[in-house]
Amino acid sequence: MWPGTWRKVFAGLSPTPRAALRLSKRLYGPAGRRDTIFALSSGHGKCGVAVIRTSGPASGAALRSLTGQWELPPPRAVTLRRIRDPSSAETLDRGLVVWFPGPHSFTGEDCSELHVHGGPAVVSGVLQALGRLPGLRPADSGEFTKRAFQNGKLGLTEVEGLGDLIHAETEAQRRQALRQMAGELGRLYERWSEELTKALAHMEAFIDFSEDDNLEEGVLVQADAAVQTLEEEVKGHLQDGRRGERLRGGVHVVIAGPTNAGKSSLLNLLSQRPVAIVSPVAGTTRDVVESAVNIGGYPVLLSDTAGLRVTEDAVEQEGVSRARERLLQADVVLAVLPAGDFVPEPCCIAEALRAVLPHGDLAWRVPCVLVLNKADLLEEGHREILLGACQKGVLPPTCLLSCKSGEGIDRLLSLLRAQLEQMCGNPLAGSPSLTQARHRLHLTSCLASLGRYHSYKSLDLVLAAEELRLARRHLGKITGRINAEEILDIIFRDFCVGK
């Protein structure tokens, strides 16, 4: 997997004097040719401040677009700026920016740093915005350091330990890649990569052998059809980036249950401020009340809803139907039931839960956490019986809670976090949003190459093949497989070539 992704390899030795002379004479082109790279430089996951770094000639332009100001901040001074998405002008965050014009920077190139709030939503928003700018791409691992080396900015002491660091980083990436690759998504990318390789191999065979051997133009028609199918699939896939959206907008957690179960109290408890009015009167909440909170590093949008009951009150009826509607859009449901209201038997609890969930379906597709509130009102000994009952049958993960005393909140938070982690990946094990941004970027570039393939194929077959090579390289950056021999193997497997 490595030789491909690591082709532009990190470099640590300064060239020999003679080589350096030769280099300066004939090898180095204008410095402006280099890509500008960006990456999250602080650790992944939940943290107070995240630092995103760029390095390369387009750093200044990127800073201008992100801050929306033509004027660059004074060099090496910390400045507060609004950071926005240049494509939508939507504000992503307010943060500190630092501008390091080359050569007085870590890498020796123009660099910038954005210090933003550490939530994954903000970070992935900024990274995706950077990825859409021309000339910018996510850095390969160790690439900042590599550039620093090449520009003579790193001494021996700084190199010490770097190998281990990169090793740890790539290990984490590898594990993450493996995790993702084991899934359906991985199999999909693998299949695309294989199909593209085959199409490319057939085209290469046509270029290298058709004049001498029995290769018909039919080979090209087949390759063409394969590319077209692939193009449509990638396009469809890119339009369906639900998981990334979830992180940016926050996970929708809907609190639902019968009236007077303590839903609004739970909302206030989780928000740590009085968002909703709380009263002992059933049916206090009549509309949907929202609150954005951070749970375990994940942005969560909590919605408190009207208690579900049959009512004659027109306003409350509307509230209940809004609650039902909101339930259908939920990513996670917190079903709140008053703990003392029913017989501690699995079937009875299930019955009560069924009344909350849409269609009364316990196996509904949206994950659910069952919260048995008002635990403080339970008699001693009753809780064990209740908890025991909850573990039987087909009930979702359950916790006993008292909004009044705060008892059980830790258990609820850990259940919720586990649920969020399952949905979004563990931010501490390598940021999923970062991977997501990278995948999206490579898939978009892959698609662009496939598009250009069509415009070149009648003009110049070599250019068309080059676009397929580029497309394959972008896919290879996701699947980690780029190999020239593979193409030759396919050629010799599929065709009888040579004389």
């Binding site: 490595w2 030789p3 690591w6 082709r7 532009k8 390899v9 990190f10 470099a11 640590g12 030795l13 300064s14 060239p15 020999t16 003679r18 080589a19 350096a20 030769r22 280099l23 004939r26 090898l27 180095y28 082109g29 040719r33 280099r34 890509d35 160790g142 090449q150 021996l156 190199v159 010490e160 770097l162 190998g163 281990d164 990169i166 090793h167 790539t170 290469e204 046509f206 270029i207 290298d208 052998f209 004049e211 001498d212 051997d213 029995n214 009648s458 003009l459 110049d460 077959l461 070599v462 250019l463 080059e466 020239a484 193409i487 030759l488 010799f492 009888c496 070539v497 040579g498 004389k499």
Partner: protein, 692 residues
């Protein structure tokens, strides 16, 4: 003893040496000694001589110099690129082809000029004559007919890796020849074995002697050797073939020359010969299936080429296909036809049966049966990018002995080995062609870092930077470097290339600066479909990218300043190609620079990967040891090397550099360590036992 001497003889005087040779005294010293007069040997000897080395070419039979031992053709897709690059370094084969071809054809005409394949059928006799004439007339180059039995070895130079140093050779008659560098280009002669049916006999080509003494020496020195196989088809008598029922294939008119120096090829376009196409059939398949037990070559497990397979293996692997058989003339006045695609190792009488059931060959007479060759090759990972071996200093290898197949691949290595053998003697830095600079670079980098397990052939799909490495621009990529760094390029060629390069640069600049709106362009050149909707103006270079637009169109539309560029036909064609690829070449440029940066980071040649104190896995150590990469760029291309391993390697090298330099210094001072003394004894013994 001497067959040829160059006309303007320069010292040293070989006659003196001949008298002394038998006595065992030190003979005169040549700069470069080339063993073998095939395609690699001739190019190596000529390149060494061109770059100023007094060169001796040793061959079994001087009459076989320039012999095309297999197919009567040169070039092809990918291979044509190599020929162009050899020419750009002032090599011989392109010019000789332009004087000896009888059917010139550019392949891939419809597929983009980056993959055009210059190819020609060559008159064997003419090629040999012209090559021998060229070799004879090369100043500083002498040819001598002798067999080489062994290498003369001495103590190694401490500042280079290697357990010993070659200082010359011992000939079949026991005499010694001394030289600064030695290049081995012995092709398939190392333990060569010819196979026909169940018969086997040792030989390189049919009728030649294999080199056994040398093979033993190389083995004793510790060179890792592998075995490969190849084959050649039977030859047919032209007058016994019924061409009237076959598909005719005409040559190009006008023919495109291989060499940048040739205005045109020697033959009149209308005098070119035809090639013919026929096919295999079910009867052929049956004979092959029925007689597999009589076919040793096909049964054996030695790796053969996947792309130049015998008819038998084609039939076995793709039993349902109908296989093409090209009938190619071997010369203007030759009665021999070479049936390309019919390489066979069946017993001769069965080969005749196969031939007789092919359409048009029913009455064909077989003048020589096809046969298979199995031979030793040297694992090329034991060579550095200059083609010098790491085991024995100043010993270079080029051609088929390194596991390649094809005249062009051999010639390309020959030029590089010749130049470097000469530079080595003069103590100059090696001349390395990078993967980013030429197909030659890809060929040598693939061989020396990845090795090969089948005869290696060039394909365009092996080349990452195919957009930039085109046949049309081989001169601007290599000629100037060859002149400045290697001194292997004539003044005349240097000036011609400089002129062309300057004109190209000027032309591109002018084309870029000439900008009009789409509407204006479509009025100026109505025959091309130029989009008028574009808001930004388009440059003349953008317009030239349209498939229907040529420089002539542009010059007609805007005579000033474009006329002068269009009038120079060659320049106009090259400008068109530059325009086609400009966008992609620019994109690739960033990547090329990245590769070059990595290649500028050199690793010490004498690292012992098994003992160094760096955090590397055993697997990585083994890979590094067998490939012995010279640069970080090469390390990154070895499959299975992790980024962390690369950094740990770099860290080690950087911390140890000072220490290493200190050790070298003390070695130069004369204190040989015990290990060195032992090694010295070992090679001395090896040398003695071979010489006796």
């Amino acid at each position: 003893m001497f067959l040829f001497r160059r006309r303007r003889a320069l010292p040293p005087l070989p006659l003196t040496w001949r008298r002394r040779a038998g006595g065992g005294g030190p003979g005169p010293r040549w700069d470069v000694l080339v063993i073998g007069g095939g395609h690699a040997g001739t190019e190596a000897a000529a390149a060494a001589a061109r770059s100023g080395a007094r060169t001796l070419l040793l061959t079994h039979k001087a009459d076989t110099i320039g012999q095309m031992s297999c197919n009567p053709s040169f070039g092809g897709i990918g291979k044509g690129h190599l020929v162009r690059e050899v020419d750009a370094l002032d090599g011989l084969c392109a010019r000789i082809c332009d004087q000896s071809g009888i059917h010139y054809k550019v392949l891939n005409r419809r597929k983009g000029s980056a993959v055009w394949g210059l190819r020609a059928q060559i008159d064997r006799k003419l090629y040999k004559e012209n090559m021998q004439k060229e070799i004879l007339n090369t100043p500083l180059l002498t040819v001598h007919e002798a067999s080489v039995e062994d290498l003369l070895l001495t103590e190694p130079e401490p500042e280079h890796p290697g357990k010993c140093q070659v200082s010359g050779v011992i000939l079949g008659d026991g005499s010694r020849v001394h030289a600064g560098s030695v290049i081995l280009t012995t092709g398939t002669f190392l333990r060569g074995m010819v196979l026909i049916g169940l018969e086997m006999h040792p030989a390189g080509r049919l009728g030649d002697q294999p080199s056994i003494g040398l093979a033993q020496t190389l083995e004793k020195l510790g060179f890792v050797v592998g075995r490969l196989k190849t084959g050649t088809p039977p030859r047919l008598a032209k007058d016994s073939i019924d061409f009237s029922i076959m598909e005719r294939h005409k040559a190009d008119n006008p023919p495109v020359p291989f060499s940048f120096l040739s205005e045109a090829v020697w033959i009149k376009p209308e005098d070119q010969l035809l090639c013919y196409l026929t096919h295999s059939n079910a009867k052929v398949k049956q004979i092959i299936y029925d007689n597999l037990h009589l076919n040793n070559h096909v049964q054996e497990t030695t790796r053969g080429p996947r792309y130049c397979p015998s008819l038998e293996s084609k039939v076995l692997r793709f039993p349902n296909g109908i296989h093409q058989l090209w009938l190619e003339p071997e010369g203007l006045d030759s009665n021999v036809i070479y049936p390309q695609g019919m390489s066979m190792t069946l017993p001769p009488e069965l080969q005749e049966q196969v031939i007789a059931c092919i359409r048009g060959l029913e009455k064909a007479k077989m003048v020589q049966p096809g046969y298979g060759v199995q031979y030793d090759f040297l694992d090329p990972r034991q060579l550095s990018a200059s083609l010098e071996s790491r085991l024995v200093q100043r010993l270079f290898f080029a051609g088929q002995i390194n596991g390649t197949t094809g005249y062009e691949e051999a010639a390309a290595q020959g030029v590089v080995a010749g130049i470097n053998a000469s530079l080595r003697v003069r103590g100059k830095p090696p001349f390395i062609i990078s993967r980013t600079e030429g197909y030659i670079g890809v060929l040598i980098d693939d061989l020396t870092t990845q090795g090969t397990n089948e005869p290696y052939r060039m394909f365009t799909s092996r080349v990452e930077f195919r957009m930039s490495l085109r046949p049309d621009n081989a001169d601007s990529r290599l000629t100037l470097r060859g002149f400045e760094e290697a001194g292997c390029v004539s003044q005349e060629r240097y000036e011609q290339t400089s002129r062309m390069k300057a004109a190209l640069e000027e032309g591109i600049a002018v084309l870029k600066s000439l900008q009009f709106s789409g509407t204006k362009w479509s009025k100026l050149i109505p025959e091309a479909c130029i989009a008028t909707s574009r808001s930004s103006p388009a440059s003349a270079l953008d317009i030239l990218r349209h498939s229907q637009v040529t420089m002539e169109h542009l010059a007609r539309a805007v005579p000033e300043p474009l006329r002068k560029f269009a009038e120079w036909r060659e320049l106009a064609e090259r400008l068109k190609i530059e325009a086609m690829y400009e966008w992609h070449v620019n994109i690739q440029q960033a990547e090329i620079e990245e590769v070059r940066r990595d290649e500028a980071l050199q690793l010490p040649e004498d690292l012992d990967y098994f003992t160094i104190n760096a955090s590397l896995s055993q697997e990585v150590r083994e890979k590094l040891n067998s490939s012995r990469p010279q640069t970080i760029g090469a390390v990154s291309r070895i499959p299975g090397i992790t980024p962390a391993a690369i950094i740990n390697l770099l860290r080690f090298v950087k911390t140890n550099r000072q220490r290493t330099e200190h050790i070298r210094h003390s070695r130069v001072g004369g204190s040989l360590s015990e290990g060195n003394t032992l090694e010295k004894n070992k090679w001395q013994n090896a040398s003695l036992s071979c010489a006796s």
